[in-house]
Structures are given as structure tokens and as C-alpha cells.
Amino acid sequence: MQGKVGVFVSIGIVMAEQVKKEQAVSGVPMVTATIDGREVTVPKGTTVLEAAREMGIHIPTFCWHPKLKSVGACRMCYVEIERMPKLQVSCATEVMEGMVIQTASEQVLQGRKAVIEFILLNHPLDCPTCDKGGECDLQNHTFAHAVDDSRYSFKKARYTDGTDGTTFDDKRLGPEIVLNRNRCILCYKCVRANKEAFGEYDLGVYERGNIAEINSAPGHEVDNPFSGNLVEICPVGALTNSDWRYKIRVWLTQTTSSICNMTSSGSNILFYKEKNHNKIYRVTSRMNDSIDDGWLPDVSRYGYQIATTEERLKTPLIKKDGKQVEATWDEAMTVIHNRFTEIAEKKGKVCLGGLASPYLDNDSLHSFNKLFRTVFKSNNIDFRSDYRMLPEGADSPYEMLVDQPFTIADIDDSDLIISFGSDLIREHPNEYLRMRKAYNFKRAKVVSINPYAVKSADIAELEVIHSIGRAETVLNGICLAAMEMGLVNNQDLTGKIAPATTAEAASDAGVTEDDLKEVARAISSAKKISFICGEMVSRSIARDTIASALWNLYLLFGFKDKGQMAILPRYANSRGAGSLGLLPSPSDGLRNTLSGLWGCFPESDPNNTDAMLALMRKEEISGFFIIGANPLMLYPDRQFVTDGLERLDFLVACDLFETDTTELADVVLPLSSWAEYDGDYVNLEGKVQHARQAIKPLYQSKPAYEIITMVAEKFGAPLFESIEACRKEVDELLSMTHSTKFPSQFLEVKPCYEDAEEEYPTPLLICDDPHHCGHRTEKSQSLSNFVSEAYIEMSPEKAEKLAVKDGESVRVESPVGKIVVPVRISDCIDNNVVLIPRNFASTQVTSLLMRKRRLDRVKITKVDE
């Protein structure tokens, strides 16, 4: 079998697609060759394989992958090139001027046949029991080349570790992945993708020659958040996953093109459902170069199991004598109508509020909006349930930055990528991979400015780890450095920001002056920048201060002409919800369009999530309608939410399963997942993507749109004549020319620090586990195979100080709450910060938080058994 040598020999021969793209525009020389008698002209650097593919000529491959550097390991892609004495591997041979290439000559076919015979030497040929059967490259190429004989009459070499000598050398590499080394053809795709594309080092190739083998890193599991891709790209059945293994044969399934509901970029996916049965079996990628590059984060791949879990809510529930009991939809609608009417009449003013989930599709969000504004005449409506103390107004520095245009594919050819207040791998896994790609293929400079070392250290040229809660000071410092070094001409900023010198800013922010200067230099010399801001900005109550500092940076360095800067929206349809005006007070433009469409718009006070919760406590909002959201688990002040929701007269909650929030509800309605109906979603770029229905709604669940329409009808106020009418309105809203706003001049930025408290010395950050997103994914079996309970992530130094080991429990206390969680020691975390994921209902981490705090601080003590 091909040894590892091949890997070393041909690295570097290959031209990556990015490079190619760049050259085509920058007028790089073109070369002309003849492939199978047809002429083709391609930019210099294109491989023979790529050129052939562009012409629609199929060349079989095993080790080649469009998004990885070629290594020429398998030899399957042989072609014949005139005046070259031997067959050449097309995936690692560049097209040269005048080349005459045959892709299917007698000699080529003979060569490929020999390669297959060689690969099959020790292959178990256990196709009948192999999960890959029916979609296996080896099966297909063998079939296509009619290799039905072998000259090898010896006993095949076998890995039989831990089994009885059958071909089932099943070795579990991680929570999901199982390896069968007998089937492996050593194309190295898995290891290459893992290292090259994902920056993960939990898988390797060991030994060499015919005993070379793939395996996890010694002492490690393969459990990185992109590991599902390894199974998808394995050309044979060597890597399989628990999700799909031995469940169904692929030819009994049919696919539906859709998009994922877990990331805000909207990874393009394929659902596989059993023909004639209402059951999904898996999700694979549907390569979309402008969004996901064909890689799915595990949340996107395994997230579908939130639909297929047994734990789904199966019928409506109505609370009777303090207990929720099963009911029919009709009964539920009647109760909702009667109670809401009663409350409205009793209070005699607007006292209803609504909270929708940003995972819902446009039709659902728009109809929810219309229900509230036109039927309930209420401006108490929001979709953001996990940001504390959001200010109102579309023109705040923060909102303007949320609204900035951003193009995912532009990350590819940025020469400077800055992640600011964002742990990309947790928040935006697709963009995280893009950043790695830009680094790999174009040596883009990667800079991380965060309060802890987020995962990107291996590629980051500069990591500025600042004291937590000092984000705006770092930004001010960068601006000051640029002015002090004369990198920018504009000095208008002076006096608007504090402190006044780079040195002071550096010391306030806990960074070095050199770091600030270096970032300033990097920004001023970059040609194309992607400046990505995330949750640490959105979640902070200082979001407007930080955003103002970002705007100053934007203006000072003239970002308008050299790149993109945005606070990326977090959920599948956050952007859609904003664009459709699902906010208490939408922008004037939106408001006018909406009132034009509906003929009215309520005048009542606008209240966002935070304000609504406050009004519930005062019993001024008494009826509440939650659809898909789970504020109790996610809003960063659990007590505040509990107080509010418990004081309501009537709460309706719709979700896929029972949640902390539905437990408090008077009526619970079973919601369908996104896989169960057709819907449109607006991704973080503003691109509208269609998710097709893969299966019919499960149990008695209904899509949000239907539920909302039913409620409206019960109130005698049908919202739309048909769903088409709703879509027409949505289209009109989304097509509104969106004038992105900029501040016209520098903004004042006076840092607002919070003092440390002696009793609670450790800053706590709440985040998503890289295998989870929000409150729903813990119901996915595969995702919970990776992580199923909360933990507190801390640095080795911190753990040592507390005298705790990995896995031991600690008590985490804040002024308002207390939880017990196991410790996870991580090299990534430093700077005294600790992280706790918020994805697990069993650990009520939001009970530690207070809504009016900028920093959450805790005291950690070891739990003595």
C-alpha cells in the first residue's frame, strides 16, 4: 500500500482554489492544454484534475478533496500526458502550456485497475455489513473498473484488536466515531482535514508502509467539534459514526436539501429520511462554497436529533389544578382565547407580551409580529431572550454595528482577521473554519483580542489577552497607539476617549503597549480586514460603550474602504427577526412599511425582554406568549425571570420539549422542529435561505406559523389569506433597501469599569459548549454523547490554586446563587477567567447572574466529598 512517503513528496505542488481565484482576477498568466481532445484554458497553477472537472470530465479519486491541499497518496486519479513517460497523478500535476492529456486511455484504465487491485490486497471486502455500502468510493471505482480478480492468494493482513479475528475491527475513537482499520485505504483525508481545515490534533497516522494506520492521538479521544466531517469524507467505511451505523442502508433513504438551524450562517445540509417513513436518519453537508465550504460543525450535523428525540412534547398541555394535563388543540386554543381576553378586559390596557425564538422561520416571526401589533395592539415583543439590559432604539452604536454588512466568503481573502470579544469556535464555527482557511492558504494574519485565549492560538500571530471588562480600553489603546505613531492623520479623536495615552490604556487593560502598537500597525497596513465581534460584546451591558469604541476604530482607520466589521448575529434567524421588525420599536422605515401593510401600528409603550420581565414583576404585563424561547434557562438573571413569569396570570409556552420555561406555563403547545416544515431563514450575511420540509410534523406538533394563525383565528382576526400572502409581506420587508448607518463623527468613550469584589474574586463567563447551541441541543443524543453536563472550565494554574483535579466538583457561588459543577482543566483558558456552558438544564448557571452587572463574579471552593 502507498506509504506515507507520498505525503511528503507532493506537498507544495498544488494550487489551492483560493490562490487560483485570486490569480484569475489579478491577471495571472493563463495556460492552454488539451484534455481528451478538447482545448481548455485555465489560470496557471490549476491542476489537471481541477481543469478536467471544470470541463465536466470525471476522474476518479480517493485522496483528493476540493478544500484540502493535494498529497497524491492514492494514485487513483492517473492520467496520461503526452511526452511524459509514466502515468501522472492529475490531482497533483499542474496544467502546463500545450499539455495533451488523456483521462481515459487504455493505459490509464490499466493503471487505475492496478491501483484498485493493490488497494484491495488487504481490504476485507465486507461490503454486505459495511455502513458505507452503496455510497462507497472504493465500491464504485471497483465496479466502474471491473476489477473482479486478484493475483494475491495469501491470507489478508488483519487488524483484530479486541475482537475475534473477524473483519469487525471496531475501535471506538471517540464519542461518535468508530474506526475499522481493515477497511482504511490510507488516503489520509481524515487526518489532513482534521489538522489542516479544523486545526484539531486528536487524530494521526502512525507507523508506515503496510502497517501504517490511522488512530486517535495517544491518550486522547477524537471529540473535536468538527469530527463528524471525518466520517463524511472517508471514502470507504473505515470511519463511521454511532448516529448512522447499522441503522439503515443508504439506498432506502431519500434526501431533502435544507439548511441547518444551529448556526447563524446557516450551513447547507441534506436530510436523509427513510423512504415512505416519517423518520430522519442523518444529516450531511451540501457543500456551499459561499457559506460552509462543505464542512459541517457537529452541531449542524447532529442537531437534527432534537427533532427525532423521544422526549418531544407530543400533545398540547393545559394546567388544571396545578398540573399540566394532555389536551386537544381545540381546548388549548379556547383556553388561550378566554384567558387572554379576560386579562385584557380586566386590566383595560395593553398587558400582553410575546417572546419569539430567533430559530424560527420568517413566516412564523412575521405572523407573530402581526398577531401582537394588530390583534393584541401591543408593542411588547422581542426575540432576544439571552441578552441582559438591552437598550432600545435602532440607532444605538451597538445596533448599528449589529446591522453592518458582512460576507462570509470575504474572510477567505482578508489579509487580516481579528476576532474581538468572540470565541469563534463556540459562536460561529463556520467563520472559525474560514479564518483557518485564510491562514492556511493565504497566510492571513490572525489576531485575537479577548479576555482569555480563545481557540486559535495555533494560527494567531498575535493574541491580546486583556483584563476582563476592559474591552473598550483596548480599543481606545489601539486608536491612541495609531495616533501616537502617526499611522493615521486624523487627530479629532483626542479628548473624546480615556485614558489619554497608549501607555495608560495598556496598563488599564492589562496588556502591553507593544501589543496595542502591533495591532495598530497590523490594521493600518492591512489591505482587507475582517473584524469579527461576537457575544462578549452583545452580552455585555457595556455593549454601547464597546460599540462606540469600535466605531472610533472603524472611522480612524477608514474601515469603510478596507474591510468589514460587524457584531455577528448569533442564531439561525436572528438577522431575519431584526429585519422583520420583531423588536419593540423597529426603525422608522420598518415601522412605516409595517403600518402600511397592516393599516395600523399600535401606539403603546415599546418594551423589550428585559422591560417586559420588569413589568411582569409589577403585574403590568399579565399574559405572556412564548414561542420557542426559553428565557428561564438563558436570560442572564434567573431569579429575575422566575419572579416575572411566576407573577403572570397566564403563560403560553410552545417548544419542542418540556423546558424550565414550559414547566411554568398554563398552556404548553408542542412545536414542530425546522425539519418538519418549509421555512426561510436570513443568515448572518442577510442571505435568505430556504429550509425544505424533510418530514411531516411529528406527534401532534405544529409549525409556529400554524399555531400563531390558529390563535389569531380564534380571536376572530385571521392574519393572512394564505401563507403566500404572508410571504409576500415578508419579501417586501426584506427587500427594503437597508441603508446601513454609520456615526458621522467620533464617539465619546469613557470606560465604565466595575470594581473587583474581594469576596467573589473570579470573573465568570457564560458560553456555549462547542458541541452545543442554546437550550435545545442537549436533547440530541449524539451531541450529548460528546458533552452531556455542565462543567467549569479553568486554567491549570487556577485548578492548582483550588487544589482540584479534572473532573472533581467545585461549588460556584455568586451573591445571588450557588451551583456545583465538575472542573474541566483547559490550556485555552487563562487570565483568571472561568467558563461555564449554559446548555444544560440540570445546571442552572443563570442563577448565578445578575442582570445589572457588567461582570459576573464568583467564588469557587472545592467540594469535600
Binding site: 506515507k4 490534533y201 487524530l203 502512525y206 492521538a217 495517544p218 491518550g219
Partner: protein
């Protein structure tokens, strides 16, 4: 730490010589082998920490090269060439003789931990076949008498 301070220092010094830290893997493994006589998972981890590269990269390189023993072995590693030129000139009987003299079979280590005997592919010294390598030295044009002398000599030095 399995690696001595001296080895760590040597590895760091070597790592500083290359534009890519990764290039220091082989020198680091060599230094580790020189000190310990073999390398294993713990050593991979230590090396990966010293030169700051993922541990899997060290493990891959170490297992790719047969020259790095993966388990403790005798003070002297005897590698007899069993490839064609040596075979024609009696490598097989030489191995047999060594097995008999040392009282072990190929692949084993003597109870006093002095000698480990293995056979390997061509060592590139065909003109002086049959030959063997003990630790870093070649012993060529071997005869039984020469083998006796060599073993005697090594024993007395040990």
C-alpha cells in the same frame, strides 16, 4: 519529567535553529532516545510541550521511524542486517550464532539488560557484508570470531 534537564536544554537549543518548530521533532526524539534508550507516549507529550507542537505530530514521526525504539531495551542494541547481500554471505547463521551466544531469540533482551538483538533491512553497507550495527557503530565483514571479540569487548566496557 522523564527527560533530564540536560536533554530538555539540548532540545530547546535545537528547536531554536529551525524556522519551523516542527523541524525539531526528529532531533528531539534522537536526544530523548540517547538519554532513555527509547521513547513512548510520555516522552511524546514532554517533547510536544517543550517545542510547542501538538503531541500527535511527535507520535506520528516517532512511529514512522523504526530507528526510535518504543520500549526499553538493552544497553546495546544489536541490529543485524538480514537483507540480500548480507543474507548471501551468511546473515542467517550469524543471527543464529548471536542468539546462541546471548541465550535469547531475535527481538529479545538479555536478562542483564545488556543486549537486545533484532534484524533489520539493508544498512547500506553491502560491500562489507555481513554486517551489524550496535548502537551507533557499524561492525563489518563479520565472522564468528569477530562476534565473540565484539561481545567480549562490550561486556568488559559495560
Amino acid at each position: 519529567m522523564m527527560l533530564s534537564e540536560e536533554s530538555v536544554k539540548a532540545i530547546k537549543e535545537r528547536a531554536g535553529r529551525y524556522p519551523h518548530r516542527k523541524s525539531a521533532i526528529l532531533p528531539a526524539l534522537t536526544i530523548a532516545c540517547r538519554q532513555l534508550g527509547y521513547v513512548d507516549e510520555t516522552v511524546y507529550r514532554e517533547i510536544s510541550k517543550i517545542i510547542r507542537i501538538p503531541m500527535v505530530e511527535v507520535a506520528e514521526a516517532a512511529t514512522f521511524y523504526t530507528m526510535f525504539p518504543k520500549a526499553p531495551r538493552g544497553k546495546y542494541l544489536i541490529q543485524v542486517c538480514h537483507n540480500i547481500s548480507c543474507a548471501l554471505l551468511g546473515a542467517d547463521s550469524l543471527i543464529g550464532y548471536l542468539e546462541q551466544k546471548l541465550g535469547i531469540t531475535k527481538g529479545e533482551t538479555t536478562p542483564d539488560d545488556l543486549f537486545t538483538l533484532i534484524s533489520v533491512e539493508c544498512l547500506g553497507s553491502c560491500a562489507t557484508a555481513p554486517m551489524m550495527q550496535i548502537n551507533e557503530d557499524y561492525y563489518e565483514n563479520l565472522t564468528r570470531q569477530k562476534v565473540d571479540d565484539i561481545l567480549q569487548d562490550l561486556r568488559s566496557k559495560a
